[in-house]
Symmetry: D3
Subunit: 163 residues, 6 copies
């Protein structure tokens, strides 16, 4: 167990720090995260109906997720400010699961990974979807937000065991 | 199906709007949300060790959650800006579940509910916890973010069926 | 010429101030602003084609306008922070003018007017539209942003001479 | 018509994306935008009087424009976050036109253009000018906001036909 | 010693909270803070020369202070979001002390005090002044930032012993 | 005296600008700032007691300081947006001085110095400490905020005469 705790965001005395990444190489970093919002069948049907043209819930959630990725360093205390080079957020209706699946990818040429940006995009897209639909379904659940894949950086590629 | 869709955040033509709450009464609004971060047993043990004094992961996540509640209207496109009167975020280690449970409560004297503020606080506290621990456990999952209780406003009290 | 200058945002010595509105009544305030983006006929045709389902430029611009209304006090130095109760942004294609017209309305129960919120919503919706279309038409012009109507407050209703 | 629409901010399915600029070269990018605020002759006279020392409307608007350029990625949903290396905003009184002309220039060593930063600086300077003067002239019009020049990047230099 | 600590921002278990102000009365709250930036005589002379028309350091610092007062809840973790009704920032050159004195006043009709808003305005005005002058004087010191007066609220008026 | 004033943040006409750093080299920049909050002995004793586990004032202030360093370009009008690579904030109780000393260090590989980021971190940590303790001691004073050391960049290393 290196340092005090094994956690990189604390110094030897256990104090929170934004860790020094000055000496890391500027490489291409990529991360993909995924999550879902589980809801009533009727709610999902309403969302799908909206995709036909009136009331595009998924479009609003996608945009909120993209914008939130850019706010990550404002929200997550010890995240470094980053110049993201790409963000995508995709939302897919899964009628068999009564769920909307959300996947976000973030990309950077820089000194630190972009997992938090991808995870934040998924989270805020999910929150926005909840906000848009809460008048008809307060019991929706935001679930299974997790890192799916990560590339670039010293620690090498990561793939979730069960994507 | 009222309006186009049953969703309040769209007008009759299906266009996104921030709905008019001018005529709603200024009453006391309260909302509680809950969620959890599921992790390896070793990760949870490290977090618990940190609570003894060095490396307070939960303290950082709590603060991030409280601050995020205040940023909700910046993040969720159609949320109204609100003057929150109280925010609390509690994190509890659940060794039997290999999880940290997060509960947030938001309060307001105002014209609109504070569910989104409570849910945003839980989400950002969970993301911060992920950020602090990701060097030792990239497989953590943010799960079961949901509204537990809501009071005040025209629609009356709400309690989740399975809190 | 009252005070130094006739301008309310300066004190008697000509120094910028956020004026004191504590003694103003909390009344319903409403403001509507309008503007347009003038472009090539081909660009407008592309936007209209996108409305059929793929590439909803107007939907993105509408959302950006609504969100920007909430950021007005962050952008305009001497604007008061406000708890807006409603924001709408509408964009209409005007093929005869090779333009998209943008209209925004903001509403508040409060102590100060919401003209700046409506004007900011129009401006940022226009900028977003420019951003989305600039790869095909760099010569677009953002034009005629102006206050159309204002209600509430001591100074009484205002209507633009040529709406 | 490349892709779905010719618009770069949508993917093949018509979904909004922050486009991938990772592979673009880090070159010097420069953009200049211009616009104007048209007003009553008396309003312009008051602004000019203020420049003599008391009530510096143009100084406040200039600063608001510079600060807004930095907020561009927060405002424009699909803009990349950028590390601007220079921003200037100039405001000039044009008594013959009863207008204040605003010109902004933004500069970057980076992977994407800075048109939106220059246009946002002009827009927010114009809105600030409106805010400062609206007590004496609600009929002011923000007009002719456009890109004047753009240099750097793959698409080469751009000059407006009628600057 | 009430509660755990005498500090209101912690609950009985010592966890940080944004305290509940829902039951406080909406009264007029006023706070004034003061501070100074101490510098070389030459630096102060340059600032004073700028006030004659070219290079208005104090005007930029004043505006930054006013804008920062509005950002207080974004910066100070446990501060409530507030709808400030007035902010003023004054900067005075004190040649006898080789200093610029900064005084800020914030006002609110609301449920919580505005000390932090006044203190934040002074601090950011001081930082801005440092930024503007650091090329000629890196040894400037920001000093004596303190609350001068506070009115409104349950705890009654406060006056600093040595204003 | 170069230019109008010797101040780099004004152009030859005395207008505020964000100076052009495009041609500066991307080197490692480091800055350390320091300040203190002076208080009653009883207040300091309460803070120290909290460090034992309940009510961690210094932990909250440290986090607020780190987060504020990232907000520097939002707060200081003419600061460039930067991708900080490291931020640390340390707070030390000095019982002999009835004070808490705050030291912040900021680091960057970039084109401009990070003094303002370090000074802003100290200032906001100090303000947060004030906020946490103001219920027991309104007379606290934020004092002696100054640059201690600066490395990197064309102007070479700087060390305060009396650190």
């Amino acid at each position: 167990m290196a340092e005090t705790s094994g956690f990189t965001h604390f110094d030897a005395a256990g104090r929170a720090v934004m860790v020094d990444v000055s000496d890391k190489a500027e490489t291409e970093r990529l991360a993909t995260a995924r999550g879902r919002v589980v809801m009533k069948a009727e709610t999902l049907a309403l969302i799908q109906a909206g995709q036909m043209g009136k009331g595009d819930v998924l479009g609003v959630a996608r945009l909120a997720g993209i914008m939130a990725a850019k706010r990550t360093p404002d929200l997550i205390p010890l995240c470094h400010p980053l110049a993201l080079t790409k963000v995508t957020v995709d939302l897919t209706c899964l009628p068999e699961d009564n769920a909307v699946e959300i996947e976000a990818t973030a990309k950077l040429k820089g000194r630190t990974g972009v997992e938090m940006e991808a995870l934040t995009a998924v989270s805020v897209a999910a929150l926005t979807l909840y906000d848009m639909c809460k008048a008809v379904d307060k019991g929706m659940v935001i679930a299974d937000i997790r890192l799916i894949a990560k590339d670039g950086g010293k620690s090498g590629p990561y793939r979730a065991e069960t994507p």
